[in-house]
Amino acid sequence: MFHWLEKNPFFFAVAVFVVIAFAGLIEILPNFAQASRPVIGTKPYTTLELAGRHVYIKNSCNACHSQLVRPFKSETDRYGHYSLSGEYAYDRPFLWGSKRTGPDLMRVGNYRTTDWHENHMKDPAAVVPGSIMPAYGWMFKNKADVDTAYAEQVTVNKVFKTPYNAELPMADGSKVKVALADSVEAARASALEEAKVIAADMKDQDVKDAVAKGEIPEIVALIAYLNSLK
């Protein structure tokens, strides 16, 4: 075997790589596979939440807001439990961010509510004095792209086996099932049902009217996403 390798430089190089990488492979890969498994309580995004996530990415929220709580007391006091890798199991891509111009949003759903987000996105400085965050007025007019969100749901369900329509254990012992609609029409309908719940807690009459008409403004999808961050 070795004599054969000696005469075939390419395969020799491959063998060298395997030998050198061996320790890394047996140490890193199993740990990685275990740590990236979904933490109990993590569930895939619904259609509306995913549409909101697209709004979040489209407006580069992740350029100023991280989604990664580090294990330091100063951070866990402010944001809640430090992040675990399994919590990002259904994030494609993850939105850790690299710079905090604004606060971390990993668990913003625990301590902010629909009406607060509505006030804040309309005029951040009105709620947080001295805030340098710009207002996102157009989100109250533009419509969220539910179809793309549904397409992503179907894709991750097919390709990555993201567990839609499956019973998932929650931290309190209950089971939760995130449904994946059978057709894009059904997905639009279920997203609208979610949107109605959010809009009921909102004050903006235009948004309420739009949802009543069957449209989903971006702000509704975004709030659904932010509320899901827990």
Partner: protein
């Protein structure tokens, strides 16, 4: 003079020359500069001289030495080996390395001794111990100050730094309850504080809009004795049977509605709240001491 020694002297002079060009008089070679620079230059000079001396010694040894000593029995194609003792220092380092490797493998490896989460847990534990010891007994002023600082971090984003609810975006904490909220609760009922008041309050105990308005004004303005219409409406709606004649509340039946007190604030923090203004999340991340402090601060606001 030997050629090797001559070469060594030339190299030393050249190196010292280079050093002088590089650092100059400012570097300390001319007696100027601070002592750190002088020490560095002195070190460089010593290094150059020692190197030259050692190299010269061994080069000369190689030139003049002849092999000696007892040959080992083994012989490989005419190449033999002298029976030399292991150098003592080398042997000590070799054996020491073996012992050290065992220690490092079994106990010393960082993964066994340190983890980031372990450090975090230690940090939290140390802080909690210190916090509990420091604030085991607090006077009212300290309690209030702590409550205010917790308020600024946790509550001010919605209730505002002045606790005025920022133009109706959240509850104004300088009053117990707003007229609007009383109306909303009378019309829709309430079941906000599931842990402490499991029963909840049924909707539509008062049907007549005039009476609803009267009771809203009566409760929101603080149970004024001369408000006969409000008082009558309050009684008509049987509010007093649960909330008490003056809204002082009843344990595990109905919350106090004539003002804030620490216990009421703790109840709101425990269950969160949803009403006419919007929703408030539960704040379960606060410690018991922080909750108490926040209760003291918030109830002090409405008493002023």
């Amino acid at each position: 003079m030997n050629k090797t020694v001559l070469a060594a002297i030339v190299v030393v002079i050249a190196m010292l020359g280079f050093t002088y060009v590089a650092v100059g008089s400012a570097g300390g070679m001319g007696g100027e500069g601070d002592w750190v620079n002088k020490l560095a230059v002195l070190g460089a000079v010593v290094l150059v001289i020692v190197t030259a001396f050692v190299v010269t010694k061994y080069v000369r040894q190689m030139q003049s030495d002849t092999a000696g000593g007892q040959l080992a029995d083994e012989n490989w194609d005419g190449i033999g080996e002298y029976k030399n003792e292991l150098p003592f220092g080398w042997a000590v380092i070799f054996l020491g390395s073996i012992v050290w490797a065992m220690w490092y493998f079994l106990a010393g490896y960082p993964v066994n001794a340190y983890s980031q989460i372990g450090e975090y847990n230690d940090e939290v534990k140390a802080h909690d111990t210190k916090f509990e010891a420091q604030f085991a007994k607090m006077d009212d002023a300290t309690l209030n100050a702590m409550g205010e600082s917790v308020f600024i971090v946790q509550c001010a984003p919605c209730h505002g730094l002045q606790a005025d609810g920022m133009d109706g975006k959240a509850a104004n904490l300088h009053e117990r309850i707003a007229e609007k909220s009383v109306k909303h609760i009378v019309m829709n009922g309430a079941n906000n504080f599931k842990t402490d008041y499991a029963g909840g309050m049924p909707p539509m105990l008062l049907q007549d809009p005039a009476q609803v308005d009267a009771v809203a004004k009566y409760v929101a303005s603080g149970f004024k004795a001369d408000d006969a219409a409000g008082k009558a409406a309050y009684a008509a709606g049987t509010c007093n049977t649960c909330h008490g004649e003056n809204g002082e509340g009843m344990p595990s039946v109905a919350p106090k509605i004539n003002g804030w007190e620490a216990g009421m604030v703790a109840t709101v923090l425990k269950d969160g709240k949803k009403g006419a203004i919007g929703a408030m999340p539960a704040f379960t991340n606060l410690t018991a001491v922080q909750t108490k402090a926040l209760g003291a601060y918030v109830s002090s606001l409405s008493k002023k």
